[in-house]
Symmetry: C2
Subunit: 309 residues, 2 copies
């Protein structure tokens, strides 16, 4: 039995958030549908930031219900604040991805409040979610700049681990540990995740890497080496960070799927079907640079999956 | 004391061999000089294939002596056959890189002989080199398609390990284990190198990865994890393989240097100086696609090397 690893698509949120062209809703839905059909089981479909700040997500009231119609697909959304969480709850999103930074400077730039204020927001949000009777969304504690910060430089590994612990104590159903700015090195990744996995028990802990300096896939490998089984990535590596100059984007979903399939993990993804999603994105965003080797080269001759698909 | 890891530049050979534009000799020498000054201590400067087959290396009689003038630089060259080895010996190359494939089909396509004939050639070459009295070049046994083959598909790991053993028995001073076609996965890399490092003792064993499907840096990490301390790469990821359709090139030297520096290894390389070599290549080969994240993003804020440079 092949061990499972889950790849979670964040391109529709993290990828699109810095793309100036608003992607037509039909293309977004086609992206979601085609990637769902390729076997991706969790997709972050939007962000609940004010539309006047990021027009890209102005269509979320239509996107979320249509994404929820795909049987078995976990639909997630970024919620920057309590108001966003309320919107997510109202629309029935499965997971609310809250995000704050480990470094004070990045948090101030990105969400315009201190990390203490962000913890307070998360506490309110988590309480609100846990009070819902019946079906409730999961509340995910996301931490960016866990491995370094474009504003502050080095970030203490101990501080990243402690922040993860605090989010868990405040009621996080899951954690996502992020290298938003592409500073992480594989040994640092191993140390931080080992530190976090010590106290998380059955709580899922996901890794979210950017490929800014070419180490995204190596960092994903390092995370998997120490037991991480949930990883974020972005189709064609779309993305970046408004506070990471020169950022080259997220880890490429297609290459990440190839990495784990080639190692004998069961990702549930049919890579050839996944590669077809590229055409949808390329047509809708002709000016964006799409990255990734697997798309260009195709699968190796006689490539086999650990589990037939 | 930071542990050392050596990155060996192969862009002038493996990178340029499929580039149709013959790079002007002054640009090649500037590349060698600038990369040497950035701290790279071994450069494969040419291939001793017939000039009528690959005009790119028609300047080797001038390149080799000028490269040998850099104090402390190890100058290496690919030698496809005995005649090439004789040329290398005459010119005083420090290392003769012989290469054959593990898969029969790739060897037939690439060097037009059976693997048994290639072993016989290597035996002659190794004997010739070992008979030289006084200073002699090192003879390196290189094996391509160790992790899969575009013609034959899967390649037996045991066969790759046995081939390495045979080259050692025939007198190889070093081995280079190659994923010429970008089929390797990190777990396969670990198994094959673990198998080889069991019997190589003090003989250096190098890893040579292509980045065809985005796993080049992850495979380099995997090799380092099991003890490999010599790695090939190509500036800006230049390269590919005539028998690997869609190949996206070699592992990017700049990103590989960043990988190991970020993990606290001492590569001896000043990455900021290394990044300047890109401009030389970009000017001389304006039509080539240069890859790599570190060049685009620069080093992280407050980045420190394990050993000051």
């Amino acid at each position: 039995m092949a061990e499972k690893i889950q790849i979670r698509e964040v391109g529709l949120r993290d990828g699109l958030q810095i793309v100036k062209t608003v992607m037509p809703i039909d293309a977004k839905l086609d992206w979601i549908k085609t990637e769902y059909e390729a076997g991706v089981t969790e997709i972050e479909v939007c962000s609940f930031v004010p539309t006047k700040l990021i027009p890209q997500f102005g269509d979320r009231e239509e996107i979320v219900p249509q994404a929820l119609a795909f049987d078995g697909l976990t639909v997630t959304a970024l919620v920057p604040n309590i108001r966003g969480a309320e919107d997510g709850i109202r629309l029935g999103v499965h997971k609310l991805n809250f995000v704050m930074s480990v470094s004070e400077g990045h948090n101030l730039s990105n969400v315009r409040r201190s990390t203490e204020d962000s913890f307070a927001d998360f506490a309110v949000m988590a309480r609100r979610v846990h009070e819902i009777t019946g079906n409730r969304p999961k509340i995910v504690g996301g931490l960016s700049t866990c491995f370094g910060c474009t504003i502050e430089g080095k970030v203490s590994e101990q501080r990243a681990i402690e922040f993860a612990h605090r989010l868990l104590d405040l009621g996080a159903d899951e954690l996502t540990i992020c290298d938003t700015v592409g500073y992480a090195s594989p040994d640092q990744v191993r140390r931080v995740f080992e530190g976090i996995l010590k106290f998380t028990g059955n709580t899922p802990v996901a890794a979210h890497f950017h490929d800014t300096r070419g180490l995204g896939i190596a960092n994903a490998l390092a995370a998997a080496d120490v037991g991480v089984r949930y990883l974020d990535s972005s189709l064609a590596g779309l993305g970046g960070c408004p506070y990471a100059p020169g950022a080259t984007g997220n880890v490429v979903t297609e290459d990440l799927a190839f990495l784990f399939a080639s190692m004998g993990f069961d990702t549930g993804i049919d890579i050839e079907k996944l590669l077809k999603v590229r055409d949808i994105v390329a047509r809708a965003l002709p000016d964006e640079k799409l990255r990734g080797g697997t798309y260009q080269a195709g699968l190796p001759k006689d490539f086999t999956y650990a589990k037939a698909r």
